[in-house]
Symmetry: C5
Subunit: 281 residues, 5 copies
């Protein structure tokens, strides 16, 4: 196992999971997108912390014929994917994860960030034309976009907001990722805003203790996909993560879930080449 495997090159900002956005008062993302258009290259540290960024998650399952591709061609697939990512580095930020052995529905997945969703689509179509892309079926696609915090704000919930801002991940470099889509019921969306804030405070409070060993990132999907949120996690301690999720299951907000997982996707974190190489053996 190479050193890189354990390196933590992905700075994921810690923001509250399942902290839903309100339609009212949503700022325009024109500024962030303009800024992006001016840059000639995507910066990981920036794009992972800004609102107004698209995230496309695509789960792939290798077809049986992959094992009949000549071994030499399979081994070249890693370099091909690396080159493709390099070529599109000004348009998209691409991460790969290995789920083979831990999941039924997929062997690996891509997380693609872009300021312009068309550019993410273009990259995904190029990926589908690679050696490994041609030998894999898409088993799940999730599209979402990032937004600023709008329930647990400095004014509305100063204590929790401070808790979210001050805590930071202190564990070893995460080796595991989890992607969990979340959909809320019509009842949830129809309860008054202040009660929703109340429920989200109850949701957020028990999570503070886990900020030291679980990183989180949230994408909003209502109306652009069959889910309301995509919650993305990185951790090195799955027992702690299991306890965190039991905490989240045990607050009233959970009663408003019509989808929580299905699929819950568990994978391991590697460089793109390592993922493809592991699948090429």
């Amino acid at each position: 196992m190479s050193k890189k495997f354990f390196s933590n090159t992905r700075a994921t900002v810690v923001i509250g999971a399942a902290i839903a956005a309100l339609a009212a008062g949503m700022p325009s993302f024109a500024t962030a997108q303009q800024a992006a258009a001016d840059n000639t290259m995507i910066e990981r540290g920036k794009i992972l912390t800004q609102p107004g960024v698209f995230g496309v998650f695509t789960m792939f399952k290798l077809r049986p014929e992959w094992s009949r591709v000549p071994s030499a061609d399979r081994m070249k697939a890693a370099a091909e994917v690396k080159q493709l990512i390099e070529k599109h580095k000004n348009n998209v930020l691409v991460d790969l994860y290995l789920t083979r052995g831990l999941e039924t529905g997929s062997d690996f997945f891509l997380r693609v960030h872009a300021y312009d969703l068309v550019k993410a689509q273009t990259f995904m179509n190029k990926f589908r034309a690679t050696q490994i892309g041609r030998n894999a079926d898409v088993s799940e696609t999730l599209v979402g976009l990032t937004k600023g915090l709008n329930y647990i704000t400095k004014d509305g919930s100063p204590g929790l907001n401070a808790g979210l801002s001050s805590a930071s991940y202190t564990g070893p470099a995460p080796r595991y990722t989890l992607v969990i889509p979340v959909k809320k019921s019509a009842e949830w969306w129809n309860i008054p805003v202040d009660q929703r804030l109340h429920e989200l405070e109850a949701h957020t409070a028990p999570t503070l203790a886990y900020l030291v060993n679980v990183k989180r990132k949230l994408y909003h999907s209502t109306g652009i996909d069959d889910t309301d949120f995509i919650t993305y996690f990185e951790t090195n301690d799955l027992a702690a993560f299991n306890n965190l999720m039991i905490s989240l299951a045990s607050v009233p907000e959970n009663k408003y879930h019509v989808r929580w997982g299905s699929p819950t996707v568990l994978g391991t974190i590697h460089s793109p080449e390592e993922v493809i190489k592991a699948l090429a053996e």
Copy 2:
């Protein structure tokens, strides 16, 4: 990316989404259909604004063998589809959209408008016999028909009706399309008409602000497909669209949905040839 990509040649009339038709007092469509029969060619501007028009949405997923069709044959597929559309232009209006990279269940879809559903069926069968049609599976078909507004009328809701009539799309040419099937519960259909009007006013009010950056079109399907409505959208601002959909989720009418999406289909808008060419690479 060609200029055409951004051109907005599709004038879609803005009508309320999910504004259900009442069975009582439905006018006969004989007049519109007779008029159509007299014409020798379908006019985009007309057929997209008239009631009594059929809309057939067909989602396609390419089979793995498509990538094994010789590259030259794949490239000819765009011209073949273009010719087929030209040949049937007096019978059907055909639009294609690219979903590959954004969806699990499809790579592209067709939206076919016709005054006579048999002609749409005939066209679709010819399309299935083309090079690309033979290498793709149908993953979803939605059939609906257009009707006039019958809840938010000049008499019943003069304010909202004026709002719907006066607002118009002012954003840049839409690059994205969304197709979202909607099915209402038995409870919905059984509530008194005036309460249903009340719920639809609450549904319509928050949408007015989005008429400037989201175009909408509605098809009715009760009994002719396993959905009640097909809602079709075009936009260039997915963040605004996400906020619109959160608004629609937050009114009581949402409690009567038994299907809203499943699938939500997100694609990009191109000319038919561009769609096929993108898939042929």
Copy 3:
């Protein structure tokens, strides 16, 4: 399009849709079956109006390899099916419908009537061995049997009964067919008979206006298939049909549906040879 396409050779008796049978007092069908056994040939006019007749609906989806069958062999398939139907004409009445282009799950379907279900099974197995049968997958099978009216009777609901009896289809020859399976909840089956009659009167009343342009036929399936009823329709006016179905959705009886469609199958009406030829092109 041949003249035959528009010919209306199928006399379908108009009986109430979703008019459920009561177990108590069900007459024996021995008489009808005996009569049938005495005949040496099935008469369309008779078998489509009698109780005690089995109806088997089988939806087929062509496999991709169908398009690789040599064109000459595909064209012979129509004659092969015609001969098979001719050979079994003393055992079963066979209708074919074209759904390709309008449905996801099927390209065509068969409706087979027989006094003896074993004979319908025998025919279906022979059909599976034909050129087109070998290249198609069964995507749905529905088995039901006809019964006499037993809610809306001359004694119980004289007005509605007279309405059902007197009205008849006066529109142009139907070009469309719809097959919609219906399953009722345990609550429905447990409500007292007189209340059930009341609900069915409310269901039947708004349908009378549509008897002039929608033909209906009902099959009973409780316990012999995973549905309670198979409702079969023919119409030339899908807008009227859509309005009829909205009427049926808007009465309390709809609250007792646990399945209504899923799939709703929409097809066009042709002779068997025409259906196979359309698929062979």
Copy 4:
């Protein structure tokens, strides 16, 4: 059609369908299993009437390649299956049924009885290795075991118990079989035993009239499969069976069903060789 087709060599004991077993006071089946071990051959009359016997139902769907197996090899398949059954006659009792033409999910199914479930598994694995087994996919497996009556007992419900015991099948040899899995809700299992008895008496009473033309057999599956019961029927009168099932739908016990069918499997009764020969044509 051979005479054997109509012969009724299968003596199926009539016991109450869906008469659930109580965990408390369940006798050990050690005695019956010991007795079986002592016998060197399975006796149909015995194994079909004893408690403590396993029943394995396996539905098969032929793969398209079956039609490409040379005709001579397909015809040999019947003899191969016959020999396999003969070879295992001391371990298992095997019945085959033809569902092709009446079902979507299967073409035929096996019902295997054994005192020792391992022996049923061993037989099934040998069957999978035959010519027809290699060309078929398993589409459904149901595993259950027989128990004695424990609700409608001589002491608890003397009248109904006498009714169940005295009535017997008097119709012509059954040509049809139906297999219907049943699962009850948590609410059912939590109602007091005496109320459950009350509900089962209401369930049993209307079934007595059908004992003359419907044979029934019950298998218990709670915890060993995703169903609580497998109900197996034989009849020659599907109209009577339909009425029986409407009676069972119309009692309160039906409100506690979370699965009733799904799939309902309808087939015809033949000797094993006849089933394979019908599929080999």
Copy 5:
């Protein structure tokens, strides 16, 4: 059948099934994992009794092409799997089970225990590259981890705790295994801890009588898979197991299940080589 088949080399600790862990007060598993890292080899007796251990269940279904692999190659598959398990014995403990003939969705499954989940993933990926792994599809994957008892504790429920601790399996070596995933509703997770304890006491009490003939083991999955628990059983008496499960269905806790089975997986216990050999015939 070899003697080994009946040997009981798997010491599975008896712990309460579906005894959920509380997030609060969960001890760190760092100690157990450190201890494991110090050992150079996995000990069955230890890893099956410790908390903080990962369990990965992977169900496999053979593809049709497996039967076309030359017989000699199929027979070598058993030795190949044996060697692979031997090679990884310091990283994972591997058990195989035969489900062919008893299940629809699988032919066999693996249960892999590891202190470090990455090592289980690595082993599974190597298994996928074996002769049999390349010819099988994954039909289900379940990932969980072990924890200590935390409801039925010495202090909280001294009587039941003593019952669980004192009883032990006394039957013949189990020949059957059952794997049943369990998911609880949001309502369950939101009821107060003392009521949850009360419900689990009611759940545990009737199970004590079955500890003599049913072995149980529990894995926790909330948030790391789409289930809350994986319950694993071994028994030689399926009738007793059926009665146990009816007991568990009959307590109020059952009302909080949103998943119980689906799939329920029933298999037989053999050595890994025996499983592969049975499938290679």
